[in-house]
């Protein structure tokens, strides 16, 4: 299916369509996508690093698959996520930018309200994004179904740039998505952030 649809920061619509229904296709192994166009993984690494470095509040949202050490790979990935966060923190201008690491520990809707400073919930992610003025974020370790729900709601109601570091096939509802995530791949993204430090204009 050929499509002119692009997965861009919102706010897009009262109820935006799923990118898949608009003809956006997921990358094959070794590839990634940016705004729905298939690119090489390196190109996506560079773009994701630039987005983090240019954001006022670059944020990582780790989900249950990396928050709990349910297997060895998960524990390794968790360390890599922490390393990526520390790297972003070191590479941004502390006077203008604030890197954040906000977990998504649970998928059940939180009532009567969540504390948006310490957590994000996939059913109402915009509360956390609005409250913290997050303008670029990365999902990692979130089950694919919940990630897609959340990414689409974010695109619908906020202008946040979304990146998905997916352990499976990727997410077309993110503006940029990797697939087959490993601790090494997360480490490579951290290397890209370090490499591009000082080359990306800080936010105004």
């Amino acid at each position: 299916m050929t499509t002119t649809y692009r997965v861009m920061p919102g706010p897009e619509h009262f109820l935006p369509p799923s990118a898949s229904s608009m003809g956006i296709r997921l990358p094959d192994p070794g590839q990634a996508h940016i705004h729905g166009s298939i690119v090489s993984e390196d190109e996506a690494m560079e773009q994701a690093a630039r987005e983090f470095l240019a954001a006022k509040v670059p944020t990582i949202f780790p989900g249950p698959l990396v928050l709990w050490a349910w297997n060895e790979k998960a524990a390794k990935k968790a360390k890599a996520v922490r390393h990526l966060y520390e790297t972003i923190k070191e590479c941004v201008d502390p006077k203008l930018q604030q890197a954040m690491l906000i977990p998504m520990p649970d998928y059940r809707p939180k009532y009567p309200k969540i504390n948006p400073e310490i957590e994000i919930n996939p059913n109402h992610p915009n509360l956390t994004i609005w409250h913290n003025k997050i303008d670029a974020c990365m999902f990692v370790g979130v089950h694919c179904h919940q990630a897609n729900l959340s990414l689409k709601i974010i695109r619908g109601g906020t202008s946040c740039y979304t990146v998905a570091m997916c352990a499976q096939a990727g997410h077309e509802d993110a503006m940029l998505s990797f697939r087959d995530a490993t601790a090494e791949k997360i480490g490579r993204l951290a290397d890209w952030v370090k490499k591009l430090k000082g080359t990306v204009p800080p936010p105004e």
Partner: protein
């Protein structure tokens, strides 16, 4: 956690070797065998590494559920039991799939309709259950004969829906079906439909893969939703239903959830095309008249095309293999030269004609028919007759055949 790939080369308790599915389906030697459609279901399930089958084998029935019971007795299926009703069966299938099992079941006609509430639930819960639907009449008076009306209901559930023409399709697609529906970006239930009786009760030559090969087991930890285990017990799976809340975000989440199910149907396109070599098959679609059909209407159309060819009328054919995902772009392309698009169907409402009409430009080209239903056969002559009528040719009356 063991991945699927790590099982390849190992043996199961029946000494079957977990085999790379691509090798098993496309490279392994095949043995021609003369089987009924129901026996073919049994042979496919024998090689599918199913953990669980739940059935409600009532009479009248296809023998498939009973034959799978034999497989359990032989040790090829992890567990098997008979539900209290079709509704119970489909609910029990959900329970098993929530728990991380590869699940197989089969139903037909009124059974499908009775269990209907479960199918959107399966899809919404992203459970890759495979259900064989040997379609037959759903209305009163009861009919055990083929009638595909139930497919039109299944098409709105969020399940993948495929429509097999032959027993060979059935055999291959049961095995391929698990490979597509268990992909983490898809992870949806599959309704693999065929026209009951014609496919289930008649014998055909089917090329089978070796008995000693089987699919690698299902890996529930690739699921896009949390798998139910000791860390994630059933109470957590209830997901605090949004229906309990009345606010914008609950509604928006539920809407987004539904969209995600249909997004997953779309994602299945890529995998299905790879495994099934396309969502449709075409023959001679450069002709002015093209038949678009699914299931055994395809076989009858082939016969009709042969009859017409003898009379100097050339007709093309589009075999629709998947109904969900819907091969809209493929059908538009295949019918772009056609002046007349003929759609023979084994149901009274003409759901395939409606789908095609909503898909192609200049849909006055679509001729919804011929239709038969309630178990009637569709002689190729009536398809040929429909085409000749459309072309303004003289047609002898076919009434009174019975």
């Amino acid at each position: 956690m063991a991945t699927q790939a790590s099982f390849i080369g190992q043996k199961n308790k029946k000494d079957q070797v977990y085999t790379d599915p691509w090798n098993m389906m496309f490279e392994a030697e095949r043995t021609p065998s003369f089987f009924t459609g129901s026996e073919v279901i049994k042979e496919a399930v024998r090689r599918a590494s199913c953990d669980m089958m739940v059935a409600y084998p009532i009479t009248p029935q296809s023998e498939a559920a009973a034959l799978c019971g034999e497989l359990f007795a032989e040790g090829y299926i992890g567990d098997y039991f008979r539900g209290e009703s079709e509704f119970a069966v489909m609910s029990q299938c959900a329970g098993a799939a929530f728990g991380g099992a590869r699940v197989f079941t089969t139903t037909a006609g009124p059974g499908t309709m009775r269990a209907m509430e479960n199918f959107p639930m399966w899809a919404g819960a992203r459970l890759p259950i495979q259900m064989i639907v040997t379609c037959r009449g759903i209305n009163s008076p009861l009919s055990i004969q083929p009638d595909t009306l139930e497919i039109s209901y299944l098409m709105q559930t969020g399940m993948l829906v495929w429509h097999a023409e032959t027993a060979q399709d059935f055999y291959d697609w049961i095995l391929m079906g698990y490979m597509v529906s268990e992909e983490p970006d898809v992870h949806l239930p599959l309704a693999l439909c065929c026209d009951g009786f014609f496919v289930t009760h008649t014998k055909d030559m089917v090329n089978l893969t070796p008995t000693e090969m089987c699919l690698p087991p299902y890996d529930p930890y690739r699921s896009p939703v949390p798998c139910m285990d000791m860390e994630c017990p059933p109470v957590r799976m209830m997901r605090d239903p949004f229906v309990m809340k009345s606010n914008y975000i609950s509604y928006a989440t539920h809407a987004s959830w539904q969209q995600e199910v249909w997004a997953a149907v779309e994602r299945s396109r890529k995998h299905t095309i790879r495994w099934m070599n396309g969502l449709i098959e075409t023959e001679n679609v450069e002709n002015d008249v093209v038949i678009v059909a699914s299931g055994t209407a395809v076989s009858q159309s082939r016969e009709a095309i042969a009859i017409l060819e003898d009379e100097g009328v050339n007709v093309g054919l589009v075999k629709v293999k998947t109904l969900r995902p819907w091969p809209g772009e493929e059908i538009r392309e295949a019918t772009k030269h056609a002046k007349h698009v003929i759609i023979p169907e084994f149901n009274v409402t003409g759901w395939l004609a409606r789908e095609v009409s909503a898909t192609i430009p200049n849909n006055e080209r679509v001729h919804a028919g011929p239709h038969v239903c309630g178990g009637m056969t569709m002689p190729p002559e009536i398809i040929a007759s429909e085409i000749k009528t459309v072309l303004g040719m003289k047609v002898p009356a076919l009434a009174g055949r019975g």
